[in-house]
Symmetry: C2
Subunit: 153 residues, 2 copies
DNA sequence: TCTTGGAGTCTCTTGAAGGAACTCAAAGGA
DNA sequence: TCCTTTGAGTTCCTTCAAGAGACTCCAAGA
């Protein structure tokens, strides 16, 4: 995996990668999001080594993305999304759209989303939070912000 | 890095990770997006090992995310985003928003986006491509799609 | 002919990922 | 009371990717 940590870079993309950029982490997040919350379930579903799963879960809990909670009098725990983690699911939804579009082939999307608000099968679309118009890679200029060249505090 | 390939999974998130999930790949994409297109520039900016940079660039070219193009009569090449790659930038923009919100701290965002359409400093927001209402992790149900349990073709 | 510079390739070392066996603690059954 | 079961890790060993830096190759220009 990445032996070099990205967290020192003055870049929110790099910092985000330090939270969920390690191998398996996005898939763990996906599984927890859809309700697979226990160690054994995750391990069986992903086929990940138990050692790595332990490391990833610990990291995600430390980063405040998951919460570890006992669900029994015996030492049994489950992992749940925090609000911080739920907002990370945005990323998964965008990955799903891109994968559906470019990698699903003739078989079509493996999974569909039904949007609660309208009840339709839908995908996400990126829009400007100011004007509401579409906002994608080619639609912006980059400017230095206040946090440029500073480490996060 | 991930020794286990995710590409066999019937999941567009996993498949997308097989394209840009390796360490450094999203940062390479970011750099190319903002106009850093040459090997030496990328290596110097990221501090990545030359061997790994070569591997990543080759993989991204194979996957159709980048295009390798000579820019001189001498053997000199530059890397450019393909349309497939430009759509992947959606992912970077969402990572930037999340990182700004949860990791930037009091210093604030290192980088700002100015949206061409409205000229304002803005961030992306996820909306439903059917009804236009906000669409996030908690706003959808998952259904099996036509490509479920099939490998992509 | 020699030098320069971009774009890699090679080699060596370190350490993360895979895989499988082992541990631990509480509950429930014989 | 002791034994078994089960979820949740922990340990250990092997393999292979990442880091670091030296080396190569090739064409242009001095």
């Amino acid at each position: 995996m990445q032996r070099t940590s990205f967290s020192g870079m003055a870049c929110s993309i790099a910092r985000t990668l330090d939270v969920i950029g390690e191998p398996w982490s996005p898939l763990i997040l996906r599984d927890v999001w859809v309700g697979m919350s226990r160690f054994e379930q995750l391990q069986a579903d992903l086929g990940i080594s138990r050692k790595v799963l332990t490391e990833r879960l610990n990291h995600l809990v430390e980063q405040g993305v998951l919460e570890r909670r006992p669900y029994d009098a015996r030492p049994r725990y489950e992992y749940l999304l925090t609000p911080k983690g739920l907002e990370l699911v945005d990323l998964l939804m965008v990955m799903k759209s891109w994968g559906d579009r470019w990698l699903a082939g003739s078989a079509g999307p493996p999974v569909l989303y039904r949007h609660h608000a309208c009840g339709q099968i839908a995908d996400v679309e990126l829009r400007c939070d100011r004007c509401g118009e579409p906002m994608r890679g080619g639609d912006v200029d980059l400017l230095p912000g206040p946090g440029v060249a500073k480490t996060a505090t």
